[in-house]
């Protein structure tokens, strides 16, 4: 049994190492953003807020932040509405070509972003809508709606099928049952979906880079800074971006787990 015991601990140690690998870049980005070295390495040089001051004073950064906020908020709303409609359809109805319908809905995240980016760029210039913030919003909504759909669908899985029919039996119309039974039941997952889709949109750079034209979002700005040279500003912006997206994801997770513990019994 001793061998099994050792192996078991070796596996845990290995898993820990894997987590180090996964989180090392995030950690170093944060650490280096406070480090005065132009080309950061260890041992660290002195503590500084210089890089934060630089980006704070940069109007381009502010414009990009404003663009990113607009894009992720609008994307979150559109994607969540679309995702909710689809999740409810999948939960409630069976119809011909339903598997084709579901495939159409769930396919976008499996297509490489760079291909979506080119296709969107070409399509938007064809219909005369390229280089606008709302072209980014539309593209991001296509990309993120499946995530919203999945989250709401998982919540609906936990709903007693009879709950909706009970409402009908008691005389509620379908619309009223939707308003007073389904939507309240799905509320945590809807909030969760809003935050998660916002997080995905906030970090997406390939499509945004291709279709945003001059209206750069934060990731596009980062991409352009990185193309130039090593600039620790990126660490400062990056830390800010991590903070925003982690907050969004954690809020999404909290509401998502709320769903599990407070499921109707």
């Amino acid at each position: 049994m001793n061998g099994g015991f050792l192996l078991s601990w070796a596996l845990r140690g290995y898993t820990l190492l894997l987590f180090v690998f996964v989180f090392a870049p995030i950690l170093f980005s944060v650490v280096f953003s406070f480090n005065s070295a132009r080309f950061p390495t260890i041992p660290l040089e002195s503590f500084t807020l210089h890089w934060y001051q630089t980006i704070w004073a940069d109007p381009d950064v502010w414009t990009a932040v404003r663009n990113s906020v607009i894009v992720s908020v609008c994307t979150a709303v559109i994607a969540t509405v679309l995702g909710f409609c689809t999740a409810y359809t999948d939960y409630r109805y069976n119809f011909r070509f339903k598997s084709a319908y579901m495939a159409l809905v769930l396919l976008p995240p499996t297509i490489p972003l760079i291909i979506m980016a080119l296709a969107m760029l070409a399509w938007f210039s064809k219909i005369g809508a390229s280089g606008q913030l709302w072209s980014v919003i539309i593209a991001h909504s296509v990309l993120t709606a499946p995530f919203a759909m999945a989250i709401v669908r998982l919540r609906l899985n936990q709903m007693d099928k009879d709950l909706e029919s009970a409402a009908w039996n008691l005389g509620a119309s379908e619309w009223r049952a939707m308003r007073e039974v389904i939507i309240p039941f799905c509320k945590p997952s809807i909030i969760s979906a809003l935050f998660l889709t916002a997080a995905v949109s906030f970090d997406e750079f390939a499509i945004a880079w291709f279709v945003s034209g001059l209206n750069k979002t934060v990731p596009v700005l980062i991409l352009e800074i990185v193309q130039g040279n090593i600039d620790p500003q990126v660490n400062a912006i990056g830390t800010f971006v991590f903070l925003v997206s982690m907050t969004l994801v954690i809020i999404a997770q909290v509401f998502f787990t709320l769903r599990q513990s407070k499921a109707f019994s």
Partner: protein, 289 residues
């Protein structure tokens, strides 16, 4: 089930349509539309820096007869394949530990932690690797303490794979853990009771039972690596460029969108073939022995 039917309606059901059609219209306009147009665009012509709608095979001829296109193609294929194998193999022991060796609470927390990076900026993480792996970076500084190095890790295939893994490893571990955690423990126990050694149990019982999930995880890894331009560009040095970088170069410089579309269509066809092959493998019934 004695549940009541929904209020009866005849003909067109406005309620059902309200929920069903938004996504169909949306996806037709902004998902299928762009993709179909991109395929069509691969047959267009570019004259005087302007795109003209046409149906010619010029772009296809131009791209597919060039050596550099095929160099890029096979490089991308090779890198994505290596990334898939390395990531799957490195992820498996961790997924195994998370599925079998830790408490459900630890597992939940671990999965939660692994999901976070998937939704944080990949771009910034790759930039961070750039600094960490540099000639004078953190890894080489650490290695110097024990008298090794410095090693060149940037602008190498090693760098590219590290970058790919930044994107894919957390996801693959999560998917593999789900696959392993869902298999019937009784079957594993039965194998042990019948005198199967632990290694053999992993190979002959656990892996076949979790096959579908493991293959799907590998497929996602392949798709993500195949389509990523950030790692091969910033960590791999882009010599020669991978297909995604080729798309960017062709699109951004010279306005050769139709040629970029050719590259994109070739990528799609490759991915679809590989996805079908992988799914066929994943869902194939095991031959009776």
């Amino acid at each position: 089930m004695s549940s009541t039917k929904a209020p009866a309606r005849k003909g067109f059901n406005g309620y059902a349509a309200t929920w069903r059609f938004p996504i169909i219209i949306w996806q037709a306009l902004f998902f299928l539309g762009p993709l179909i147009f991109m395929v069509a665009m691969s047959f267009f012509l570019v004259k005087n820096y302007r795109m003209e709608e046409a149906f010619e095979f010029k772009n296809w001829q131009k791209m597919l007869t060039r050596g550099y296109f095929w160099d890029s193609y096979f490089l991308t294929l090779a890198l994505a394949t290596v990334s898939t194998i390395v990531t799957s193999v490195l992820a498996f022991p961790a997924a195994f530990a998370l599925a079998f060796k830790v408490s459900p609470t630890v597992r939940r927390w671990a999965l939660f932690l692994l999901i976070i990076p998937f939704f944080t900026s990949y771009l910034v993480r790759v930039f961070s690797w750039y600094v960490i792996l540099a000639e004078s970076g953190v890894v080489n500084a650490l290695l110097a303490h024990i008298g090794l190095g410095p090693y060149t890790m940037l602008n190498t295939k090693f760098g590219t794979i590290v970058g790919y893994m930044t994107l894919t490893l957390p996801l693959v571990v999560v998917l593999q853990t789900f696959a392993l955690a869902n298999i019937d423990r009784n079957l594993v126990q039965a194998a042990h009771n019948l005198g199967c050694t632990p290694w053999r149990a992993v190979y002959r019982v656990i892996m076949p039972l979790a096959k579908t999930g493991l293959v799907v995880a590998a497929l996602f890894c392949f798709i993500l690596s195949f389509g990523d331009f950030v790692s091969p560009y910033y960590l791999g040095g882009s010599k020669p460029p991978t297909l995604p970088i080729l798309i960017i170069d062709t699109t951004k410089s010279g306005q050769q969108w139709p040629r970029a579309a050719v590259v994109a269509v070739v990528m799609m066809v490759t991915l679809i073939s590989i996805a079908f092959a992988a799914l066929a493998l994943a869902y194939r019934k095991r031959a009776s022995r």
